[in-house]
Amino acid sequence: MREPVVVTGMGVVTPLGNTVETFWEGLLAGRSGVRQVPWADERFTTRIAALCEDVTPEGVDPRELRRQSRCIQFALEAANQGWKQAGLDISRENPTRCGVYIGSGIGGIEEICDNTLKLHEQGPRRVSPFLFPKGLSNMPSAVVAIHLGLRGPSRSVVTACSTGAQSIVSAAEALWLGRADVMLAGGTEAAVIDLGLAGFGAIRALSTRNDEPERASRPFDADRDGFVLGEGAGVLVLETLSHARARNAEILAVLAGVGETTDAYHVVAPRPDGSGCAEAMRLALEDAGVAPDAVGYVNAHGTSTKLNDAAECLAMRSVFGHHEPWVSSTKSMIGHLMGAAGGVESVACVRSLRTGVLHENKNYEKPDPECPARIVAGGPKEVKIDFALSNSLGFGGHNVSLLFARHG
Protein backbone atom coordinates (compact mmCIF):
# COMPACT_ATOMS: atom_id res chain seq x y z
CA MET A 1 0.00 0.00 0.00
CA ARG A 2 1.28 3.44 -0.87
CA GLU A 3 1.81 6.05 1.75
CA PRO A 4 -0.94 8.74 1.90
CA VAL A 5 0.03 12.17 0.62
CA VAL A 6 -1.28 15.18 2.50
CA VAL A 7 -1.41 18.93 1.99
CA THR A 8 0.27 20.91 4.77
CA GLY A 9 0.75 24.32 3.20
CA MET A 10 -0.65 26.50 0.42
CA GLY A 11 0.28 29.72 -1.30
CA VAL A 12 -1.23 31.82 -4.07
CA VAL A 13 -0.78 34.89 -6.16
CA THR A 14 -4.07 35.76 -7.84
CA PRO A 15 -5.98 38.67 -9.37
CA LEU A 16 -8.10 38.66 -6.17
CA GLY A 17 -5.15 38.95 -3.82
CA ASN A 18 -1.80 37.55 -2.97
CA THR A 19 -2.63 35.48 0.08
CA VAL A 20 -4.83 32.41 0.44
CA GLU A 21 -7.06 34.43 2.78
CA THR A 22 -7.69 37.36 0.44
CA PHE A 23 -8.12 35.00 -2.51
CA TRP A 24 -10.71 32.94 -0.66
CA GLU A 25 -12.53 35.98 0.72
CA GLY A 26 -12.70 37.37 -2.82
CA LEU A 27 -14.16 34.13 -4.13
CA LEU A 28 -16.79 34.02 -1.38
CA ALA A 29 -17.68 37.66 -2.03
CA GLY A 30 -18.11 36.91 -5.73
CA ARG A 31 -15.51 39.48 -6.73
CA SER A 32 -14.21 39.53 -10.27
CA GLY A 33 -10.55 40.24 -10.95
CA VAL A 34 -11.14 40.90 -14.64
CA ARG A 35 -10.36 44.42 -15.88
CA GLN A 36 -9.67 46.33 -19.03
CA VAL A 37 -6.00 46.06 -19.94
CA PRO A 38 -4.59 49.61 -20.05
CA TRP A 39 -2.17 49.01 -22.92
CA ALA A 40 -4.52 46.97 -25.12
CA ASP A 41 -5.74 49.33 -27.83
CA GLU A 42 -8.47 48.88 -30.42
CA ARG A 43 -6.31 46.63 -32.59
CA PHE A 44 -6.73 43.85 -30.03
CA THR A 45 -10.01 41.99 -30.36
CA THR A 46 -9.76 41.15 -26.65
CA ARG A 47 -8.79 44.01 -24.33
CA ILE A 48 -9.57 42.47 -20.95
CA ALA A 49 -7.67 40.21 -18.57
CA ALA A 50 -7.24 39.39 -14.89
CA LEU A 51 -3.98 40.82 -13.58
CA CYS A 52 -2.19 40.51 -10.24
CA GLU A 53 -1.03 43.55 -8.34
CA ASP A 54 1.82 44.38 -6.00
CA VAL A 55 3.69 41.10 -6.17
CA THR A 56 7.12 41.26 -4.59
CA PRO A 57 8.34 38.02 -3.06
CA GLU A 58 9.40 38.46 0.54
CA GLY A 59 13.12 38.52 1.26
CA VAL A 60 14.19 39.12 -2.33
CA ASP A 61 16.59 42.00 -2.87
CA PRO A 62 16.33 44.33 -5.89
CA ARG A 63 19.25 42.68 -7.69
CA GLU A 64 17.60 39.28 -7.49
CA LEU A 65 14.25 40.71 -8.49
CA ARG A 66 15.78 42.01 -11.72
CA ARG A 67 16.93 38.48 -12.46
CA GLN A 68 13.46 36.99 -12.10
CA SER A 69 10.73 37.00 -14.72
CA ARG A 70 7.23 37.76 -13.54
CA CYS A 71 6.22 34.09 -13.46
CA ILE A 72 9.28 33.30 -11.32
CA GLN A 73 8.34 36.06 -8.86
CA PHE A 74 4.80 34.68 -8.62
CA ALA A 75 6.06 31.15 -8.02
CA LEU A 76 8.51 32.28 -5.37
CA GLU A 77 5.89 34.29 -3.52
CA ALA A 78 3.39 31.40 -3.55
CA ALA A 79 6.06 28.88 -2.53
CA ASN A 80 7.23 31.08 0.35
CA GLN A 81 3.66 31.34 1.65
CA GLY A 82 3.15 27.58 1.50
CA TRP A 83 6.50 26.83 3.09
CA LYS A 84 5.73 29.22 5.93
CA GLN A 85 2.23 27.86 6.51
CA ALA A 86 3.59 24.31 6.58
CA GLY A 87 6.02 25.41 9.28
CA LEU A 88 8.92 23.77 7.50
CA ASP A 89 12.50 24.56 8.40
CA ILE A 90 15.12 23.29 5.98
CA SER A 91 17.71 23.03 8.75
CA ARG A 92 15.51 20.36 10.35
CA GLU A 93 14.97 18.45 7.10
CA ASN A 94 17.18 16.33 4.91
CA PRO A 95 17.40 18.79 1.99
CA THR A 96 17.76 16.03 -0.61
CA ARG A 97 14.37 14.68 0.53
CA CYS A 98 12.66 18.02 -0.22
CA GLY A 99 11.84 18.93 -3.82
CA VAL A 100 9.89 21.24 -6.05
CA TYR A 101 7.77 20.69 -9.16
CA ILE A 102 6.38 24.05 -10.22
CA GLY A 103 5.53 24.33 -13.88
CA SER A 104 4.61 27.13 -16.19
CA GLY A 105 2.59 26.63 -19.35
CA ILE A 106 4.52 29.29 -21.22
CA GLY A 107 7.42 30.47 -19.05
CA GLY A 108 9.09 33.86 -19.25
CA ILE A 109 7.41 34.96 -22.46
CA GLU A 110 7.93 38.66 -21.71
CA GLU A 111 11.69 38.20 -21.58
CA ILE A 112 11.68 36.26 -24.83
CA CYS A 113 9.62 38.95 -26.56
CA ASP A 114 11.73 41.82 -25.28
CA ASN A 115 14.92 40.17 -26.42
CA THR A 116 13.53 39.23 -29.81
CA LEU A 117 12.82 42.93 -30.33
CA LYS A 118 16.31 43.87 -29.14
CA LEU A 119 17.85 41.32 -31.47
CA HIS A 120 16.02 42.75 -34.46
CA GLU A 121 16.32 46.41 -33.57
CA GLN A 122 19.75 46.62 -31.93
CA GLY A 123 21.54 43.43 -32.94
CA PRO A 124 22.81 40.28 -31.21
CA ARG A 125 25.14 42.12 -28.81
CA ARG A 126 22.13 43.65 -27.06
CA VAL A 127 20.48 40.34 -26.17
CA SER A 128 20.39 40.05 -22.39
CA PRO A 129 22.41 37.45 -20.48
CA PHE A 130 19.19 37.01 -18.48
CA LEU A 131 17.14 35.92 -21.50
CA PHE A 132 17.44 32.25 -20.60
CA PRO A 133 17.79 32.47 -16.81
CA LYS A 134 14.52 34.40 -16.85
CA GLY A 135 12.86 32.87 -19.88
CA LEU A 136 13.15 29.12 -19.40
CA SER A 137 10.08 27.31 -18.06
CA ASN A 138 12.07 25.37 -15.45
CA MET A 139 13.33 28.49 -13.71
CA PRO A 140 10.38 28.91 -11.32
CA SER A 141 11.26 25.52 -9.84
CA ALA A 142 14.97 26.32 -9.89
CA VAL A 143 14.64 29.69 -8.17
CA VAL A 144 12.30 28.30 -5.50
CA ALA A 145 14.81 25.50 -4.88
CA ILE A 146 17.65 28.02 -4.55
CA HIS A 147 15.68 30.19 -2.13
CA LEU A 148 14.41 27.46 0.12
CA GLY A 149 17.44 25.19 -0.17
CA LEU A 150 15.46 22.27 -1.63
CA ARG A 151 17.99 19.77 -2.99
CA GLY A 152 15.74 16.82 -3.79
CA PRO A 153 13.87 16.22 -7.07
CA SER A 154 12.99 19.25 -9.17
CA ARG A 155 11.41 19.57 -12.55
CA SER A 156 8.90 21.60 -14.45
CA VAL A 157 6.17 19.70 -16.17
CA VAL A 158 4.59 21.53 -19.09
CA THR A 159 1.12 20.53 -20.30
CA ALA A 160 -0.38 23.92 -21.15
CA CYS A 161 -3.44 24.63 -18.98
CA SER A 162 -3.12 21.42 -16.96
CA THR A 163 0.48 22.20 -16.00
CA GLY A 164 -0.33 23.05 -12.37
CA ALA A 165 -2.41 19.91 -11.81
CA GLN A 166 0.08 17.75 -13.68
CA SER A 167 2.87 19.08 -11.46
CA ILE A 168 0.84 18.05 -8.41
CA VAL A 169 0.40 14.55 -9.89
CA SER A 170 4.13 14.31 -10.52
CA ALA A 171 4.97 15.51 -7.02
CA ALA A 172 2.58 12.99 -5.46
CA GLU A 173 4.29 10.29 -7.50
CA ALA A 174 7.68 11.33 -6.15
CA LEU A 175 6.26 10.95 -2.63
CA TRP A 176 4.49 7.68 -3.38
CA LEU A 177 7.68 6.29 -4.93
CA GLY A 178 9.57 7.19 -1.77
CA ARG A 179 11.89 9.63 -3.52
CA ALA A 180 11.08 12.56 -1.27
CA ASP A 181 9.38 13.48 2.02
CA VAL A 182 8.23 16.98 1.08
CA MET A 183 7.33 18.36 -2.33
CA LEU A 184 6.26 21.85 -3.34
CA ALA A 185 4.01 21.58 -6.36
CA GLY A 186 1.85 23.74 -8.56
CA GLY A 187 2.01 26.20 -11.38
CA THR A 188 2.77 29.78 -12.27
CA GLU A 189 1.87 31.91 -15.27
CA ALA A 190 2.42 35.49 -16.40
CA ALA A 191 1.53 35.69 -20.05
CA VAL A 192 -0.80 38.66 -20.15
CA ILE A 193 1.33 40.61 -22.59
CA ASP A 194 0.59 41.83 -26.09
CA LEU A 195 1.81 38.60 -27.69
CA GLY A 196 -0.32 36.53 -25.29
CA LEU A 197 -3.51 38.50 -25.96
CA ALA A 198 -2.86 38.44 -29.70
CA GLY A 199 -1.94 34.75 -29.86
CA PHE A 200 -4.84 33.43 -27.80
CA GLY A 201 -7.08 35.92 -29.58
CA ALA A 202 -6.01 34.39 -32.89
CA ILE A 203 -7.20 30.98 -31.68
CA ARG A 204 -10.56 32.72 -31.08
CA ALA A 205 -10.61 31.26 -27.62
CA LEU A 206 -10.87 34.56 -25.72
CA SER A 207 -13.98 36.44 -24.64
CA THR A 208 -14.44 39.72 -26.48
CA ARG A 209 -16.87 41.16 -23.91
CA ASN A 210 -14.55 44.15 -23.62
CA ASP A 211 -17.12 46.57 -22.27
CA GLU A 212 -18.17 44.34 -19.38
CA PRO A 213 -14.95 42.83 -18.03
CA GLU A 214 -16.49 41.49 -14.82
CA ARG A 215 -19.16 39.64 -16.78
CA ALA A 216 -16.82 38.23 -19.41
CA SER A 217 -15.80 35.00 -17.72
CA ARG A 218 -19.08 33.07 -17.43
CA PRO A 219 -18.43 29.33 -17.45
CA PHE A 220 -21.45 27.15 -18.28
CA ASP A 221 -23.66 30.19 -18.97
CA ALA A 222 -25.49 30.13 -22.31
CA ASP A 223 -24.00 33.50 -23.29
CA ARG A 224 -20.35 32.62 -22.67
CA ASP A 225 -18.04 33.60 -25.50
CA GLY A 226 -14.57 32.49 -24.52
CA PHE A 227 -12.07 32.54 -21.69
CA VAL A 228 -10.34 35.47 -20.04
CA LEU A 229 -6.57 35.43 -19.67
CA GLY A 230 -5.41 35.54 -16.09
CA GLU A 231 -2.08 35.37 -14.32
CA GLY A 232 -0.77 34.17 -10.97
CA ALA A 233 0.56 31.15 -9.16
CA GLY A 234 -0.73 28.40 -6.88
CA VAL A 235 1.50 26.09 -4.87
CA LEU A 236 0.73 23.22 -2.50
CA VAL A 237 3.11 21.76 0.05
CA LEU A 238 2.67 18.00 -0.18
CA GLU A 239 4.14 15.56 2.30
CA THR A 240 3.90 11.91 3.13
CA LEU A 241 1.49 11.42 6.02
CA SER A 242 4.20 9.88 8.19
CA HIS A 243 6.52 12.83 7.63
CA ALA A 244 3.78 15.32 8.42
CA ARG A 245 2.84 13.42 11.58
CA ALA A 246 6.42 13.08 12.73
CA ARG A 247 6.79 16.84 12.81
CA ASN A 248 3.27 17.49 14.13
CA ALA A 249 2.25 19.46 11.07
CA GLU A 250 -1.32 20.58 10.61
CA ILE A 251 -2.88 18.52 7.84
CA LEU A 252 -5.11 20.59 5.58
CA ALA A 253 -6.39 17.84 3.29
CA VAL A 254 -5.43 14.55 1.68
CA LEU A 255 -4.55 14.15 -1.99
CA ALA A 256 -6.51 10.92 -2.29
CA GLY A 257 -6.20 10.12 -5.97
CA VAL A 258 -5.03 11.35 -9.34
CA GLY A 259 -6.11 10.58 -12.89
CA GLU A 260 -4.62 11.59 -16.19
CA THR A 261 -5.51 10.91 -19.80
CA THR A 262 -4.90 12.40 -23.21
CA ASP A 263 -7.56 13.23 -25.77
CA ALA A 264 -5.36 12.32 -28.76
CA TYR A 265 -7.80 14.32 -30.81
CA HIS A 266 -6.90 17.93 -31.61
CA VAL A 267 -4.31 20.52 -30.60
CA VAL A 268 -6.79 22.96 -29.06
CA ALA A 269 -10.32 21.48 -29.20
CA PRO A 270 -11.42 18.93 -26.60
CA ARG A 271 -13.09 15.68 -27.63
CA PRO A 272 -16.70 16.86 -27.98
CA ASP A 273 -18.03 13.90 -25.97
CA GLY A 274 -15.77 14.79 -23.04
CA SER A 275 -14.57 11.21 -22.81
CA GLY A 276 -10.95 12.18 -22.13
CA CYS A 277 -11.98 14.33 -19.18
CA ALA A 278 -14.46 11.70 -17.96
CA GLU A 279 -11.82 9.01 -17.96
CA ALA A 280 -9.41 11.23 -16.01
CA MET A 281 -12.08 11.72 -13.31
CA ARG A 282 -12.85 7.97 -13.23
CA LEU A 283 -9.17 7.15 -12.87
CA ALA A 284 -8.78 9.60 -10.00
CA LEU A 285 -11.73 7.98 -8.21
CA GLU A 286 -10.42 4.47 -8.85
CA ASP A 287 -6.96 5.52 -7.73
CA ALA A 288 -8.46 6.52 -4.38
CA GLY A 289 -11.00 3.70 -4.24
CA VAL A 290 -13.80 6.24 -3.92
CA ALA A 291 -17.26 5.86 -5.48
CA PRO A 292 -18.53 8.68 -7.72
CA ASP A 293 -21.45 9.45 -5.44
CA ALA A 294 -19.07 10.31 -2.59
CA VAL A 295 -17.87 13.36 -4.50
CA GLY A 296 -19.59 16.48 -3.17
CA TYR A 297 -17.97 19.10 -5.35
CA VAL A 298 -16.19 19.47 -8.65
CA ASN A 299 -14.02 22.51 -9.16
CA ALA A 300 -14.43 22.40 -12.91
CA HIS A 301 -11.91 23.35 -15.53
CA GLY A 302 -14.84 25.51 -16.73
CA THR A 303 -13.01 27.93 -18.98
CA SER A 304 -16.08 29.73 -20.36
CA THR A 305 -15.47 28.57 -23.93
CA LYS A 306 -18.36 26.98 -25.81
CA LEU A 307 -16.48 23.75 -26.46
CA ASN A 308 -14.80 23.15 -23.11
CA ASP A 309 -17.80 23.70 -20.90
CA ALA A 310 -20.16 21.55 -22.96
CA ALA A 311 -17.66 18.68 -23.17
CA GLU A 312 -16.85 18.88 -19.46
CA CYS A 313 -20.56 18.73 -18.54
CA LEU A 314 -20.98 15.64 -20.69
CA ALA A 315 -17.96 14.18 -18.93
CA MET A 316 -19.41 14.88 -15.48
CA ARG A 317 -22.79 13.47 -16.52
CA SER A 318 -21.11 10.28 -17.70
CA VAL A 319 -19.13 9.85 -14.46
CA PHE A 320 -21.76 10.89 -11.92
CA GLY A 321 -25.02 10.06 -13.69
CA HIS A 322 -27.81 11.71 -11.76
CA HIS A 323 -25.83 11.76 -8.50
CA GLU A 324 -24.63 15.19 -9.44
CA PRO A 325 -22.04 16.93 -7.28
CA TRP A 326 -22.04 20.71 -6.95
CA VAL A 327 -19.95 22.39 -9.63
CA SER A 328 -18.28 25.77 -9.92
CA SER A 329 -15.40 27.27 -11.81
CA THR A 330 -12.88 29.52 -10.07
CA LYS A 331 -12.17 30.97 -13.52
CA SER A 332 -15.51 32.79 -13.36
CA MET A 333 -13.77 35.27 -11.03
CA ILE A 334 -10.03 35.16 -11.74
CA GLY A 335 -10.02 34.20 -15.40
CA HIS A 336 -7.90 31.38 -16.74
CA LEU A 337 -4.53 31.21 -15.01
CA MET A 338 -3.44 28.59 -17.55
CA GLY A 339 -0.36 26.83 -16.18
CA ALA A 340 -1.21 28.08 -12.69
CA ALA A 341 -4.90 27.13 -12.81
CA GLY A 342 -4.51 23.64 -11.33
CA GLY A 343 -2.47 24.97 -8.43
CA VAL A 344 -4.81 27.81 -7.55
CA GLU A 345 -7.96 25.73 -8.00
CA SER A 346 -6.55 22.98 -5.78
CA VAL A 347 -6.22 25.63 -3.08
CA ALA A 348 -9.92 26.46 -3.55
CA CYS A 349 -10.81 22.75 -3.21
CA VAL A 350 -8.83 22.41 0.01
CA ARG A 351 -10.52 25.50 1.43
CA SER A 352 -13.94 24.07 0.52
CA LEU A 353 -13.14 20.77 2.23
CA ARG A 354 -11.96 22.56 5.35
CA THR A 355 -14.71 25.15 5.61
CA GLY A 356 -17.71 23.37 4.11
CA VAL A 357 -18.28 26.31 1.80
CA LEU A 358 -18.26 26.20 -2.00
CA HIS A 359 -17.56 29.39 -3.90
CA GLU A 360 -20.05 30.36 -6.57
CA ASN A 361 -19.73 30.15 -10.31
CA LYS A 362 -20.00 33.87 -10.99
CA ASN A 363 -22.02 35.12 -13.95
CA TYR A 364 -24.09 31.96 -14.23
CA GLU A 365 -27.33 33.61 -15.29
CA LYS A 366 -28.75 31.72 -18.23
CA PRO A 367 -28.52 27.92 -18.12
CA ASP A 368 -27.30 26.31 -21.30
CA PRO A 369 -29.06 23.08 -22.31
CA GLU A 370 -25.66 21.88 -23.52
CA CYS A 371 -24.23 22.30 -20.02
CA PRO A 372 -26.37 20.22 -17.70
CA ALA A 373 -24.77 20.48 -14.26
CA ARG A 374 -25.60 21.44 -10.70
CA ILE A 375 -23.92 24.82 -10.70
CA VAL A 376 -23.28 26.82 -7.51
CA ALA A 377 -24.91 30.09 -8.55
CA GLY A 378 -25.86 33.39 -6.94
CA GLY A 379 -23.43 33.18 -4.03
CA PRO A 380 -21.40 30.70 -2.01
CA LYS A 381 -23.05 27.54 -0.73
CA GLU A 382 -22.59 25.83 2.59
CA VAL A 383 -22.22 22.11 1.99
CA LYS A 384 -20.11 19.78 4.03
CA ILE A 385 -18.18 17.68 1.56
CA ASP A 386 -15.84 14.74 1.99
CA PHE A 387 -14.30 14.68 -1.48
CA ALA A 388 -13.63 17.37 -4.06
CA LEU A 389 -12.40 16.88 -7.61
CA SER A 390 -10.37 19.47 -9.47
CA ASN A 391 -10.28 19.18 -13.24
CA SER A 392 -7.60 20.67 -15.47
CA LEU A 393 -7.67 20.19 -19.22
CA GLY A 394 -4.79 21.51 -21.27
CA PHE A 395 -4.48 22.59 -24.90
CA GLY A 396 -3.05 19.54 -26.57
CA GLY A 397 -5.61 17.32 -24.88
CA HIS A 398 -3.82 16.77 -21.55
CA ASN A 399 -6.51 15.90 -18.99
CA VAL A 400 -5.83 15.77 -15.26
CA SER A 401 -8.21 15.20 -12.39
CA LEU A 402 -7.16 15.51 -8.74
CA LEU A 403 -9.24 14.07 -5.93
CA PHE A 404 -8.84 15.80 -2.56
CA ALA A 405 -10.30 14.37 0.64
CA ARG A 406 -11.24 16.11 3.86
CA HIS A 407 -8.91 15.28 6.72
CA GLY A 408 -10.45 14.31 10.05
Binding site: D61, R63, R67, R125, R126, P129, F130
Partner: protein, 81 residues
Amino acid sequence: MTNDDIALRIREIIADRLGRSIEEVVETARFVDDLGADSLDQTEVVMALEEEFNVQVDDDATSIVTVGDAIEYIKKKLNAG
Protein backbone atom coordinates in the same frame (compact mmCIF):
# COMPACT_ATOMS: atom_id res chain seq x y z
CA MET B 1 29.77 65.47 -20.44
CA THR B 2 32.55 66.20 -17.96
CA ASN B 3 34.68 63.44 -16.49
CA ASP B 4 32.73 63.76 -13.25
CA ASP B 5 29.43 63.43 -15.11
CA ILE B 6 30.66 60.32 -16.85
CA ALA B 7 31.81 58.76 -13.59
CA LEU B 8 28.51 59.52 -11.90
CA ARG B 9 26.46 58.16 -14.81
CA ILE B 10 28.49 54.93 -14.81
CA ARG B 11 27.99 54.52 -11.07
CA GLU B 12 24.25 55.09 -11.51
CA ILE B 13 24.03 52.42 -14.20
CA ILE B 14 25.99 49.93 -12.10
CA ALA B 15 23.86 50.67 -9.04
CA ASP B 16 20.69 50.16 -11.04
CA ARG B 17 21.78 46.91 -12.66
CA LEU B 18 23.11 45.41 -9.45
CA GLY B 19 20.26 46.65 -7.26
CA ARG B 20 22.62 48.69 -5.07
CA SER B 21 22.46 52.23 -3.73
CA ILE B 22 24.69 54.78 -5.42
CA GLU B 23 26.57 55.23 -2.13
CA GLU B 24 27.67 51.60 -2.23
CA VAL B 25 28.98 51.90 -5.76
CA VAL B 26 32.23 53.71 -4.91
CA GLU B 27 35.19 53.62 -7.25
CA THR B 28 37.10 51.16 -5.11
CA ALA B 29 34.20 48.69 -4.96
CA ARG B 30 34.93 45.38 -6.67
CA PHE B 31 32.14 43.98 -8.83
CA VAL B 32 32.35 40.40 -7.57
CA ASP B 33 33.72 40.67 -4.05
CA ASP B 34 32.04 43.87 -2.89
CA LEU B 35 28.94 44.24 -5.07
CA GLY B 36 28.00 40.56 -5.32
CA ALA B 37 27.93 40.48 -9.12
CA ASP B 38 28.22 37.20 -10.99
CA SER B 39 29.25 36.73 -14.62
CA LEU B 40 25.70 37.38 -15.85
CA ASP B 41 25.52 40.67 -13.96
CA GLN B 42 28.90 41.71 -15.30
CA THR B 43 27.81 41.03 -18.87
CA GLU B 44 24.66 43.03 -18.31
CA VAL B 45 26.58 45.97 -16.83
CA VAL B 46 28.95 45.96 -19.78
CA MET B 47 26.03 45.92 -22.23
CA ALA B 48 24.35 48.79 -20.41
CA LEU B 49 27.56 50.84 -20.53
CA GLU B 50 28.04 50.08 -24.21
CA GLU B 51 24.53 51.26 -24.92
CA GLU B 52 24.76 54.40 -22.79
CA PHE B 53 28.11 55.59 -24.16
CA ASN B 54 27.87 54.08 -27.61
CA VAL B 55 31.18 52.26 -27.28
CA GLN B 56 32.16 48.65 -27.68
CA VAL B 57 33.81 46.92 -24.75
CA ASP B 58 36.30 44.28 -25.89
CA ASP B 59 35.41 40.77 -24.91
CA ASP B 60 38.76 40.43 -23.15
CA ALA B 61 38.14 43.42 -20.87
CA THR B 62 39.20 41.28 -17.94
CA SER B 63 41.09 44.19 -16.44
CA ILE B 64 37.80 45.61 -15.16
CA VAL B 65 37.64 44.51 -11.54
CA THR B 66 36.44 47.61 -9.73
CA VAL B 67 33.97 50.37 -10.47
CA GLY B 68 36.95 52.69 -10.96
CA ASP B 69 38.35 50.31 -13.60
CA ALA B 70 35.08 50.54 -15.51
CA ILE B 71 35.09 54.34 -15.34
CA GLU B 72 38.68 54.51 -16.59
CA TYR B 73 37.97 52.03 -19.37
CA ILE B 74 34.96 53.98 -20.65
CA LYS B 75 36.77 57.31 -20.43
CA LYS B 76 39.66 55.90 -22.43
CA LYS B 77 37.28 54.57 -25.08
CA LEU B 78 35.50 57.92 -25.29
CA ASN B 79 38.75 59.82 -25.64
CA ALA B 80 40.01 57.42 -28.29
CA GLY B 81 36.78 57.84 -30.26
